[in-house]
């Protein structure tokens, strides 16, 4: 699985950090999401799918491989 965030679209809701804290973080200055692990390990894939589903800005893209 590969995950990316569109930081222009991000509205800093924090939903991704709540869903998958090991994969996403937020920038100090404005809470915009950053990806910590672009290729999350198998154990975290479900959390990442949840993060993408709850992102209000549709800013998370998940490519299943």
């Amino acid at each position: 699985m590969k995950v990316t965030v569109d930081q222009e679209k991000c509205v800093s809701s924090g939903q991704c950090v709540m869903s998958a804290p090991d994969v996403f973080d937020q920038r100090e200055e404005d809470g915009v999401a950053v990806v910590l692990t672009a290729q999350p390990p198998a154990g975290q894939e479900e959390d990442v799918r949840t993060a993408a589903a709850v992102c209000p800005a549709l800013a998370i893209t998940v490519v299943e491989e």
Binding site: D30, V32, V54, P56
Partner: protein, 405 residues
Amino acid sequence: MTTSPTTAPTAEFPLPRAAGCPFDPPPRLRELQDEAPLARVRLWDGSTPWLVTRYADQRTLLADPRLSSDVTRPGYPAAAPRRDTGGNSIGFILMDDPEHARLRRMVTAPFAIRRVEAMRPAVQRIVDEQIDAMLAGPQPADLVEAFALPVPSLVICELLGVPYADHDFFQENSRSLVRRTTSAQERSASFEALHEYLDDLISRKLAQPQDDLLSELAARVPRGELSRGDAAGIGVLLLVAGHETTANMIALGTLALLDHPDQLAVLRDGDDPKAAARAVEELLRYLNITHGGRRRVALADIEIAGQVIRAGEGVIMANDIGNRDPEAFPDPDRLDLGRDARRHVAFGFGVHQCLGQPLARLELQVVYGTLYRRVPTLRVAADRDSLRFKHDGVIYGVYELPVSW
């Protein structure tokens, strides 16, 4: 595909809830959801916007930039006569991108998960102190006045750097803003009073910066990043949104739990540290206190569910019934603290999704995780028929909740 029928509206909106079912959306909403994805409804002013009742359509539309939050546009489905803001900024909740995004990003940093989580000990202390104070007082107590309102007020004051001593002033004016029955004139007066108050606070923070959100915001004014009026407007928005909503979730949530003792027991007697977090999501879904729906006006023709919403038409996403859509949440009318309800739309969806949600979650997690453990004998101390609900409110809730223990 059919085009927008110019048929008569199928219902007046808002719709009445059923007697004796204070937690459930109006039964007519469920019928509308079953019948068709979109319906025409008639508002107080005779306008006939679309009502969207299904969860998936609501999310699609709320994420669509062709729907505007700008109340000043013709066709916007207003909930009440519009207040005259006297040219004062009203914060970014009623603005569109790019201006909305620019202003929202000025205050997103303090609502980042890590910064909000750092407030947990302070929130826990506030909750414990308010419980101590309530328990030391007479019985029955009104849970709203004694607990549900002070907790979020104290928390938002701490975050913003607003003196809690002024709480009578800002609570009263906030209430006036969120009551549907407030006249346009009263609404303007309340708004102006709050704006003046925040403007004055911004001056004080500029002169003497402190470690709080308003000081951070104020510092942007001399740097030319933010106008003074916008700074005060954002302050008003955060202060009002920061306590009315959460307060209603605390009191109404408690009543719902007292009515579902098996669910209350999960929080009171269980030992799952995640129980409170799950309960918060489920109660947000189940109660969906922003019962007036998310309101928008179309900027262009939009195809949805085999219909066309025409440019200039109003659209209301009824997120209360959206959160009870059986397609999204099986057995939707059951309060089930064990379910994973995180996909609810109680905080809205799209670029306007609640900015304060991490803080609201933190407060509710601490409250639901503490109150019933510390006061296990908590019970309603009033005749059920005497409880008055905020049918007339922009935000739903219970006006008073007499309790004893």
